[in-house]
């Protein structure tokens, strides 16, 4: 793969902020021809760098007031298969992300809930009952920023 040049990086940065930008809008912004812009967007997609789109919703306005990050340690390694745990945890609707990690915990979860009482319900009924769950640490999200990263 040929490395990305500055124009590719600008296109990537612009789309990361607003995925609905059209090739014509981007081409005007970058002073590039529309077909050239389109080819570059296409390449970023074909190489899997642009991996899709995410709808950005205001969770609080939709009634989801609490986001909690959980660190989960599996209690009985070897006895419970990771596949079983992963299948069960990904099917919980309130669980937004699941990462298998190396370190103090085995899994990192992002959980959304209406309020703390709702979170407690999800934690007790859905998460603590997952196969193999041992130690669980919860940190309640106060603020979040996403940065452009090393583009």
């Amino acid at each position: 793969m040929t490395p990305l040049d500055d124009l590719d990086r600008k296109i990537l940065g612009a789309l990361a902020a607003d995925a609905s930008l059209s090739a014509s809008t981007l081409s005007r912004r970058l002073g590039l021809s529309q077909p050239a812009t389109w080819r570059r967007m296409r390449r970023l997609q074909d190489e899997g760098i642009l991996a899709g789109r995410r709808l950005v919703l205001d969770a609080a306005k939709l009634g989801f007031g609490v986001t909690v990050f959980l660190g989960i340690k599996l209690a009985a390694k070897g006895r419970v298969s990771l596949e079983d745990f992963e299948r069960a945890v990904t099917s919980i609707r309130e669980v937004q992300t699941v990462e298998h990690v190396l370190g103090l915990y085995d899994y990192r979860l992002r959980v959304v809930a209406r309020d703390l009482a709702d979170f407690e319900r999800v934690l007790r009924r859905r998460i603590m009952t997952l196969p193999g769950v041992g130690n669980v640490e919860a940190n309640v999200l106060l603020s979040e920023e996403r940065l452009a990263g090393p583009i």
């Binding site: 995925a19 760098i49 995410r54 939709l62 669980v95 937004q96 583009i151």
Partner: protein
Amino acid sequence: MLDDTDRRLLRHLQDDPSLALPELAELCGLTAGRAGRRIEKLREAGIIKGQEAVIDWKALGFSVEVSLRITLDKTAPSAFDEFLAAARGVAEVIEIQTFLGRVDVRLHIVARDLGHWQTIYRDKVLTLPHIADIEALMTVATVKMDEALPL
């Protein structure tokens, strides 16, 4: 207030943000005009904030992802602000979250490989102000990453 039709629109749009209005309308059993007006209202209310492109950092050559859980030295009154301002200046940081819990701040960092990670950690992370303790979780696999709300 949202009704069931709004929720249905948001659910489908969340599943596939690239849906064109006529397709979205059909999925929800609406005319394109009515669906369009509802989407516009949701935007005006700030419930739909936009769309962002999802960047696959691995495809861009960043194969290492680390979640750093940081405890700050809160004896310095401006510890949070100074730490966050400095962390925003590290190019490889793609997410910053602050928490209520055992962990104060979490940085999500991408690196090209372990050598690159070591350089970032030594030269850019350990030099950040007011750090009392750091724990690292290295991502082995991302199992679920849609960040969808359970609408």
